[in-house]
Symmetry: C2
């Protein structure tokens, strides 16, 4: 066990041991000029011997920058926050930046509390991760540091937001279905109070319009759950017996749909092709057949958000809502009907 509360070793300790001034130690350790090679060597050895680590607190106090950003999330489950965090950490990684993670659990009070705490620690910037793609109240007003919104955009057009291109993602899916010969395409998605559901439905409309086709029935709005997928399958298979493809608004819906479709004797993907959304490997890599899915590229989104936060810290701001392209991960559930 650790915990010896022995006073931490400081730059002066290194200086005494090496027999030089602290200024020289600082320069030697930071690779600055005007230090003789053998002196630098002596300092390095002394530092090594004492296992000296410069106190970042002191350095940061001096420079006024903490080399830290706050990541404020609301989705405790981490479904969307985590990939963004990973991307951000990746972008910062090499640069010795640290991420302080705070989960507000959808509570405004807690969020304000966290913001205050982060500000008093002098974070250099903030990334706010929404729990959905619905716009959320801005917190940037009167904050002394730049803020970047990821996944859920700010409702203030002057803020910088990065969101996945749900319309484009849905179009990718539809185009792929059309390219593999499907023509009677239905769409099952989540609740109407999710912008993601509305956007994806719009993408379907546009994708089909491009090809001069009609959607097979109205978009079915429900929930993001597997259960709704099963329920929608019952309805669709009954109402539209000649359906040859379904684009689902989430992998969960798709998993549910496929389960019921199989039970009802439809061959997948021969009779009906299925595409999901989110490319949540837990599901998409476990369905039968393996599920083709739209991947919103969240890790890249986080990466980009972090890079832009960097730029904003340096004063280069690019306000507005930036939509980030999705990509389609093609698996077995959309193989062409084929002769097999």
């Amino acid at each position: 066990m650790a915990g010896r509360r022995s006073r931490a070793v400081t730059i002066s300790d290194v200086a005494s041991l090496a027999g030089v001034s602290i200024a020289t130690v600082s320069k030697a350790l930071n690779g600055k000029d005007n230090v003789r090679a053998d002196t630098r060597q002596r300092v390095l050895e002394a530092a090594e011997q004492l296992s000296f680590r410069p106190n970042a607190l002191a350095k940061n106090l001096l420079t006024g920058q903490s080399r830290t950003v706050g990541l404020l999330t609301s989705d405790s489950a981490g479904r969307f926050g985590i990939p963004v965090l990973l991307g951000a950490e990746n972008a910062f990684g090499a640069g010795e930046m640290a991420v302080m993670l705070c989960d507000a659990r959808g509570d405004v009070i807690r969020e304000q509390h966290h913001v205050r705490m982060l500000l008093s620690r002098r974070v250099d910037g903030l990334i706010v991760v929404g729990e959905s793609t619905n716009p959320r109240p801005s917190i940037s007003r009167d904050l002394p540091v730049p803020v970047v919104y990821a996944y859920g955009p700010s409702d203030d057009a002057d803020d910088v937001s990065f969101v996945p291109d749900d319309v484009g993602g849905a179009m990718l899916a539809v185009r792929h279905l059309l390219a593999t010969g499907r023509r009677r395409i239905a769409h099952v998605t989540g609740p109407t109070d999710y912008k993601a559901a509305i956007d994806r439905a719009e993408g379907v409309r546009r994708g089909l319009a491009e090809a001069g086709l009609e959607q097979a029935g109205e978009t079915l709005f429900g929930a993001w759950s597997q259960r709704w997928g099963r329920q929608a399958a019952e309805m669709l298979l009954m109402a539209q017996p000649d359906l040859d493809a379904v684009f689902c608004g989430s992998d969960q819906i798709a998993a549910g749909f496929m389960e019921t479709a199989r039970e009802r004797g439809r061959r997948l993907p021969a009779d009906i092709a299925v595409i999901g959304y989110d490319n949540w490997e837990v599901l998409s890599a476990e369905t039968r057949p393996l599920l083709t899915s739209v991947d919103p590229n969240l890790e890249r989104l986080g990466h980009t958000a972090a890079q832009h936060l960097f730029a904003a810290i340096d004063g280069k701001v690019a306000p507005g809502i930036h939509t980030m392209p999705c990509r389609l991960v093609i698996r077995d559930s959309t193989a062409p009907p084929g002769p097999s």
Copy 2:
């Protein structure tokens, strides 16, 4: 947008505005004695007016404590790390503690890098979250701060580790199956190189031994996936036609098992009861019937780990591996066979 690089307001600004010394401001703001009520009021108003936030960097430099802990995780997906993080954040929350999250992605070099970075920032302690319950190399040697291991224990018995009680969790499951009248119980679980799989199998053995019963066939070790659950179901239903319960080592395995069992015409839970492990709501709340599952209580584990880290920071260490009890979440998949 924010980003005005106006010099941050300091305690001196407040002092000037209130017409007192900075010492008085400090005392007034921190609720110390020896400051007259009206003076304190004046200071508070001045601070409010300038929206002054004390610079935590300066305070921490002085006290030598950063009121920050590092959370080092290896499971990028966050499957286990996140609940632990939430629990830890909860435990710290009120106390103005902050969490710096670092993901090492299973890379030793990256881990060391992160540890160095955290130490130079003078974190008060470290929580290390393993990616499995297998013991992992200790990092506590020669670290100047206390370390607590969560989920994956340290291989050094002098360290403090908190792990879920997998043996006990499995016993809970078996006892529940026995209590609902099941007698021919099989066990399907993950790969043998996971301690979790071994432990749960051991729990099954003990649970059945308590009741003087034999396990229905050998434990089937495979993978943690749904696919393996389906495969195991094929084998089990063939080899042991009179099976009346299956305890699965993960919810994914259970979901796969149930899917195939249904396809093979078994009525669930009438013919066969099923229990999963992890209580991963994404799955357990979506299976048909809803899945009874052992919940390893990870959030509580994280909470406890954080509390003990606190204690360790204050010098109270309790070395050893502490196993934390699981709880059984009973849903429909284990309803008694009943007359219905």
